[in-house]
């Protein structure tokens, strides 16, 4: 096994990975910006290296300094966490060129799945349902009209270089299309330096369902079931995730999981990855994108399967086979995660930072906390506002909701504003409790009465 791993990330996910390494008796190197010298990931790691000033670009996105940090500390592998360099194929390539193992899929797979059009094409050839639309880039107005009429309005015009909700434009009629097409190209050029767009049918009021996959170097590809991640804000940021996606039939969950495995096999995947789908009310599902990395919400899958996804990633990267077969994956109970952020409900949920006066995390049976904060910690203003992930497990969804309710009531963070009150509103919402959620749930069912 690796002797030493560098964690090229910060916050709760760096802490999560360091804990896994400690349990595997692997030494850890934390990297940090000058703003993060007091951070928990720095305190918990065996060694730490300062890699730059506060700005992300000069520190956590500073590939040369991160690889140099691995070099001077003798770390044999780099775990990129999520975000930051985790989906930059050039970083994965640079690691390999410098003889440091990148804990993730091969660079060419990251690149292939990072481009929307090529990911869509790969899905199609793997027999994974894709949203009706053009199989590739739309060169001009005429072609756009033809495709839109074929798949039927409303449609989305999407930037091939886009992601996470950016570079998307809705069109409802033939009349709107030519202008929208030109504007989408212009925007895309401005935002991503690439004007290419494609057209997809808009799936109305979908659920966001995603499948967790694991693949090793020996051709084994499995899925660990699916997650329900429909509770999202208008910027498509997830707030609450669960596993399993118990509101949709088990047979549909299985078919989605199997489709994700087919796609991973087709693309020659390695490591942990997530295939995201839109599921409509008729139970039809459509490939959306593949995240070629660890996902924020991976813990809910861990709690129902007993599989430690981070340890699997490390073992796979070292060249070991998967520790479980598809048949051995058993699902037990229900898990829910709430993302606790320092987003201010009094200020339209704008991120805030400051000194955390005190923290009280809930404890007890079926409660898992993933967090980098502690009483007295000063959250830097430069980074993601996530303070903690509160994750519960219970034998069924109803009991999991009851447990999450008591945990949210017990949890207290003073000194900075948090979204705990919003999470309480979500978890107590009658539509949420019935499992009637789509990606429009938050805007329509929770926010409609104002902030």
């Amino acid at each position: 096994m690796f002797q030493k791993i560098l964690i090229a990330n910060r916050g709760e996910i760096a802490v999560r990975i360091i804990r896994a390494c400690k349990e595997m008796r692997i030494k850890t190197v934390a990297v940090h910006s000058t703003a993060d010298s007091q951070s928990l990931h720095v305190r918990l790691a065996d060694e730490s290296v300062c890699i730059g000033p506060p700005s992300n670009k000069e520190s956590y996105l500073n590939a040369p300094n991160i690889i140099a940090a691995a070099h001077i500390t003798g770390a044999e592998a780099i775990h990129p966490g999520y975000g930051y360099l985790s989906e930059q194929s050039t970083f994965a390539e640079a690691c390999e060129a410098c003889h440091v193992t990148f804990i993730g899929p091969p660079a060419e797979v990251i690149e292939k799945m990072g481009d929307k059009a090529s990911a869509r094409e790969t899905a199609r050839t793997a027999g994974v349902p894709i949203v009706p639309g053009a199989d590739g880039i739309i060169p001009n107005d005429q072609e756009a009209l033809k495709v839109a009429q074929k798949v039927g309005y409303p449609v989305y015009i999407k930037a091939t270089a886009g992601g996470g909700g950016t570079g998307i434009r809705r069109v409802d009629t033939d009349e709107e299309l030519p202008t929208a097409f030109q504007m989408a190209r212009a925007e895309s050029e401005a935002a991503f330096g690439n004007p290419e767009v494609y057209i997809e049918k808009l799936i109305e009021a979908p659920r966001h369902i995603e499948a967790q996959v694991l693949a090793d170097n020996f051709g084994h590809v499995i899925h660990l079931g699916v997650r329900e991640c429909s509770v999202q804000n208008i910027r498509h940021k997830k707030l609450v995730e669960e596993a399993p996606a118990s509101a949709i039939p088990q047979s549909l969950q299985n078919r989605i999981g199997e489709a994700a495995v087919r796609l991973a096999q087709k693309v020659g995947y390695r490591g942990a990855g997530t295939v995201e789908f839109l599921v409509n009310s008729r139970g039809e599902f459509y490939f959306m994108e593949m995240n070629t990395r660890l996902q924020v919400e991976h813990p809910v899958t861990e709690l129902i399967t007993g599989v430690d996804i981070v340890k699997e990633q490390i073992r796979i990267a070292f060249g070991e086979p998967l520790s479980v077969t598809q048949k051995q994956v058993m699902m037990n109970g229900h898990s829910i995660e709430c993302r606790i952020t320092s987003e201010d409900p009094e200020n339209n949920y704008a991120p805030s930072a400051g000194k955390i006066e005190s923290v009280h995390f809930p404890g007890g049976l079926g409660v898992r906390v993933e967090s980098q904060i502690y009483s007295g910690y000063e959250t830097p203003p430069f980074y993601d506002p996530m303070l903690a992930k509160l994750i519960v497990w219970a034998p069924d969804r109803e009991q999991a909701i009851a447990r999450m309710t008591r945990c949210l009531e017990e949890m207290e963070i003073t000194g900075i504003p948090t979204n705990i009150s919003l999470q309480k509103r979500i978890i107590s919402n009658p539509f949420y409790r019935k499992g009637e959620v789509t990606t429009e749930f938050l805007a329509r069912r929770v926010m409609e009465n104002g902030f």
């Binding site: 000058t34 290296v49 300062c50 890699i51 040369p64 140099a68 502690y374 910690y377 000063e378």
Partner: protein
């Protein structure tokens, strides 16, 4: 403030007052306390800083050099820090204590994976202290040289 901390600070102040010491800093993960002797004639200043508060596993006690440093001298001191992560190498020719450094002069080199990058002084000055050796790994912001600035 914790009573124990107040007591600690009082003992530090007494220590500074009664000895030939200009400054004591006690730092642990919970707290950093610096007690600095003021210029003669003025009263003793105390500066305490309560930092982020994870429990500590131990405390470093740093006692600064006894040499008195005047306010103006302090202000003209300048630290050259590592601009990137890597292995430090001496410049050619190497600088040494007492060297006169010119703005723009290469004072050292940092080797990253594939690249040698020069460390350049952006001021004129005289080199006072060298905190790095050839072959030593350095992190971003690590103090390498301290010099006394020569106003241009």
């Amino acid at each position: 403030m914790k009573e124990s901390l107040i007591v600690e600070v009082e003992r530090l102040v007494a220590l500074v007052e009664s000895h030939k010491i200009s400054e004591i800093t006690i730092r642990n993960d919970l707290t950093r306390v610096t007690v600095r002797k003021s210029p003669p004639g003025s009263s003793v200043q105390r500066s305490t800083e309560l930092n982020a508060a994870l429990p500590s596993t131990g405390a470093d006690i740093v006692i600064a050099p006894v040499r008195a440093v005047s306010e103006t001298e302090q202000a003209s001191r300048y630290t050259i820090t590592a601009p990137m992560v890597g292995i430090y190498h001496h410049a050619e020719p190497p600088v040494s204590i007492g060297s006169v450094i010119q703005k723009g002069q290469v004072v050292g080199v940092i080797e990253t994976i594939k690249l040698m990058s020069d460390i350049i002084s952006d001021r004129d000055g005289v080199l006072d202290e060298i905190h790095v050796e050839a072959g030593m790994p350095v992190e971003y912001g690590q103090p390498l040289f301290i010099m006394t600035e020569i106003p241009s």
